[in-house]
């Protein structure tokens, strides 16, 4: 499924646009600022993702968050293709509402509930990199602290005890909310997420969902560049895959 990129050709990344997505062009701009990337918006009624080396489900309020966040987008036509490419090992990144959609679709375990303080939280905060053995965190080091903003009302990660145990055992928790010094504490938890979870990957490690918005901190003019490391990791992972294939 992964298109081999050679010489001057571009690695193509699909950014899925649902009705109500609002971070799609931000993701496109963030990706386009990295060399060798061609980021294309793909409408949710499309049915194929052939030729794309990676897929991003951006943030926003797909279908107005009706019923539950992500519950209707999960049945959009493109989601069959997202599931198929995810199962074939293609990298799939879900940011904020994209994370909620991946959970609703069962591509990631658990769910995102209403923030425990009931408020929509929109602010910069810190994330500790818990694991760098993934295609999304490989250029980071374990324990590194990132400054990345959140903007959500439903980011309270929940999973049953057995699922949580598996996530820990398999090192699927990639980022947790922490303070500026990297301490994972209740005070640093903005929404009540279990164990301060901010982002998890699938068992196969090629699907990653996180509530914070890395695409919003990819340009110094916008207050930081810590988000670039996530996209940079993805690019390096795909490049390695292409060398192998």
């Amino acid at each position: 499924m992964v298109q081999v990129t050679t010489g001057s050709s571009f690695m193509k990344v699909a950014i899925i646009q649902f009705p109500g997505s609002n971070c799609d062009t931000d993701c496109q701009a963030a990706l386009a600022s990295l060399p060798g990337i061609q980021a294309e918006i793909v409408w949710h009624k499309e049915t194929s993702l052939a030729g794309y080396a990676a897929v991003v489900l951006p943030g926003g309020f797909s279908y107005g968050d009706y019923l539950r966040c992500g519950s209707i987008a999960r049945f959009s036509p493109i989601m069959r293709a997202v599931r198929a490419v995810a199962e074939s090992g293609v990298l799939v990144l879900g940011i904020c509402n994209g994370f909620q959609i991946l959970c609703e679709a069962g591509l990631l375990p658990g769910t995102l509930m209403r923030n425990n303080g009931l408020l929509f939280r929109c602010e910069h905060l810190h994330l500790r990199v818990e694991n760098n053995d993934s295609p999304f965190t490989s250029v980071l080091h374990q324990g590194q602290v990132l400054d990345i903003p959140i903007a959500h009302g439903e980011g309270n990660y929940f999973a049953d005890a057995e699922t949580l145990k598996q996530l820990n055992m398999n090192n699927q928790i990639l980022v947790r909310y922490c303070d500026a010094s990297g301490n994972v504490s209740p005070e640093a938890n903005p929404n009540g997420s279990l164990e301060n979870i901010a982002g998890i990957c699938s068992h196969g490690r090629n699907v990653f969902g996180l509530m914070p918005h890395p695409e919003r901190v990819c340009d110094p003019l916008l207050g930081g560049t810590d988000g670039r490391s996530i996209f940079q990791s993805m690019i390096e992972a795909v490049a390695k895959l292409n060398v192998k294939s």
């Binding site: 519950s71 769910t111 209403r114 303080g117 009931l118």
Partner: protein
């Protein structure tokens, strides 16, 4: 066929909106509020459906089995 689906947070799940609403009830003078839980009620009218299909829809779309339970009532 008419049906009503009631979706509620599972008993073990904290419902912060319910708790906040309970506080407002106390502000209105209600005493001894022990628990307030907020769910959804979904009314469906459909020409042709069997119960099994409706249960699948309740499970896959109308509720999130990780944190919610549903009850399906067929009215007619």
């Amino acid at each position: 066929m008419k049906a009503v689906v009631t979706v509620m947070p599972k008993p073990a799940i904290l419902d912060p909106a319910g708790v906040a609403t309970g506080h407002a009830m106390e502000h209105l003078g209600l005493k001894g509020v022990r628990s307030v839980r907020i769910g959804k009620s979904i009314e469906i009218e459909v020409d042709d459906a069997d119960e099994k299909q409706l249960h699948e829809i309740c499970h896959d779309l109308l509720s999130n089995p990780v944190v919610e339970d549903y009850k399906l009532e067929i009215l007619s």
